[in-house]
Point group: C2
Chain length 318, copies 2
């Protein structure tokens, strides 16, 4: 009998969400544990085990489950390890896929969160039927999952697809969490948008509702709310962010000539505010052969389920 | 009986070289015709046919030949077409693979010259055994062939791998033949090096043997010769070119995490003059996870045979 379910698990720096998914991409049940509070990875897995086994029993036991797919920061698909993740409580190299497979007695596969999102989008979302696309996750950081010929690109070492760390500002670029300067992530992440807000507000005296918020407290959500009210500075912040992204996307296209670039994560909720300047600046910067040919799309996965779905899709391929 | 030979054909804007290649990568025989003088593609193929048939008869006739592989500017692997090649005498879309297959009565495949070089390097050269690498051709222009998981990346439309046209200078960049500004090709091609020479010589008064040459006549070969004599300006020109390349390579690594980047073409003859600044600047700009891990190598294909060999390797896979 074919096993009817897989488990998808999305590990974030703060929380870990996991759920049971059927062959059609329905998240049957879902639960969560804290990530950050577990300084020992084994105690963290204990917690996941007790939470997940309740869900597993409810669908008929472990024999119904084909495998576990995990999306984790710095997750390496080849080794199943989480390697030197700066935002997780465990240091060094953690053989997480092996630990999970041993505990549950079923196969486990692991990749980073952006690659998991790409697999999810290809299996259930906006990239169904596409063989060549690039997933860009715009969240606290900027991540990417690159699909070529229907397969996620892992590269020689399993870490391919770090497009949040291409240099978009070669001189006097902003410092990035990676220790370098000028990375895309330093401009196009949620924190990058907040930094742009601070810089713009400090560099001029134009009216803006954002001036009602203490400058160090401004978030990308505040910028979004202000832009929706028509605030000019806020709209300018989105235009700047979209320009940086659009210029970078034009370069990405020279690499893998994708059918589409798909946006996922918090910032993509800004809709046309971010999509318009992205498309405009990407088109302006594309080589002639690609002008008018590369789609930019929003993810079609339900945000609450997307990360779990994406990770779960890995488990069908184990 | 397995057919023991393939034909490799390298189409340049000026000359076309073709040859017969055995399974071990020996170029058995070789000949050439002019490309540029044929304003009608059918007359060009007539010329190739009569030249090539002599070589074919000498190895025992067309039954000994498995197929024809062609490397051509703006060649599209998916369609076998040459599409809008600015440096060829035929305009629009030319179904070149079909024309060749019809004329010779054996299968023909076509790709662009840089992709052909990548296949050649993987089959016979420095990339033997590698599954993930990037070929960079440094000639009149800058081309690239990207190999992921042992396969050349063609992308959604067959035109992937135009890394000569990533933007390395976002503001006040040099104009490029593609109609945009700031492309890698405008700095790292042979003509780019000559432009750097002119700019540097005009921007200061330092002594240089290059000042003995009329400034508009300086070629990349002159810069190489001067650098080999220890000329400081000439060495500075190579350092600048190497820095631009090294910075770009660090970005390429974030995309596909290759095992190596392989340099091919005229400029790579400069040896350490170009290799040292490339490696230094690539390392300086790599994300931590890749520092010290990505090789930069020179092609191991004999220059005179490389393009024919690369194109011929395509024909084994038809």
């Amino acid at each position: 009998m074919e096993k009817p379910y897989v488990i998808g698990m999305d590990m974030g720096g703060t929380n870990t969400v996991f759920g049971i998914v059927d062959t059609r991409g329905n998240v049957i049940s879902k639960s969560a544990v804290k990530t950050a509070t577990h300084s020992d990875v084994n105690l963290y897995i204990d917690d996941i085990y007790s939470g997940l086994m309740k869900l597993i029993e409810a669908v008929g036991g472990i024999d119904k489950i084909k495998g576990i797919g995990v999306g984790a920061p710095n997750g390496n698909y080849y080794t199943g390890n989480i390697e030197f993740a700066p935002n997780l409580p465990w240091k060094g190299v953690i053989p997480f896929a092996t630990l999970m497979a041993d505990r549950f007695g079923i196969p486990a596969a692991l990749t980073n969160d952006a690659n998991a999102a790409a697999v999810g989008e290809m299996t259930y979302g906006a990239a169904r039927g596409m063989k060549n696309f690039i997933m860009i996750t715009l969240g606290t950081g900027v991540g990417s999952g690159i699909v070529i010929d229907g397969k996620v690109v892992y590269g020689h070492d399993g870490f391919a697809g770090e497009l949040g760390h291409v240099i978009v500002m070669r001189n006097n670029g902003r410092t990035c969490g990676c220790g370098r300067t000028g990375c895309l992530e330093a401009y196009a992440s949620a924190t990058g948008v907040a930094r742009t807000a601070r810089e713009m507000l400090e560099s001029n005296n134009k009216h803006s509702v954002l001036r009602n918020i203490p400058i160090t407290d401004i978030t990308s959500k505040d910028v979004f709310d202000a832009a929706m009210e028509g605030d000019k500075i806020a709209i300018e912040i989105f235009n700047f962010t979209g320009r940086i992204l659009g210029e970078a996307f034009a370069d990405f296209v020279t690499f893998s000539a994708p059918e589409a670039i798909i946006l996922f994560g918090g910032l993509s909720k800004a809709g046309d505010l971010i999509m318009k300047p992205i498309k405009e600046n990407m088109e302006k910067n594309l080589l002639n052969i690609w002008k008018g040919k590369v789609k930019v799309l929003f993810s079609e996965l339900k945000e609450a389920d997307a990360a779990v779905l994406g990770a779960s899709a890995l488990a069908w391929e184990i």
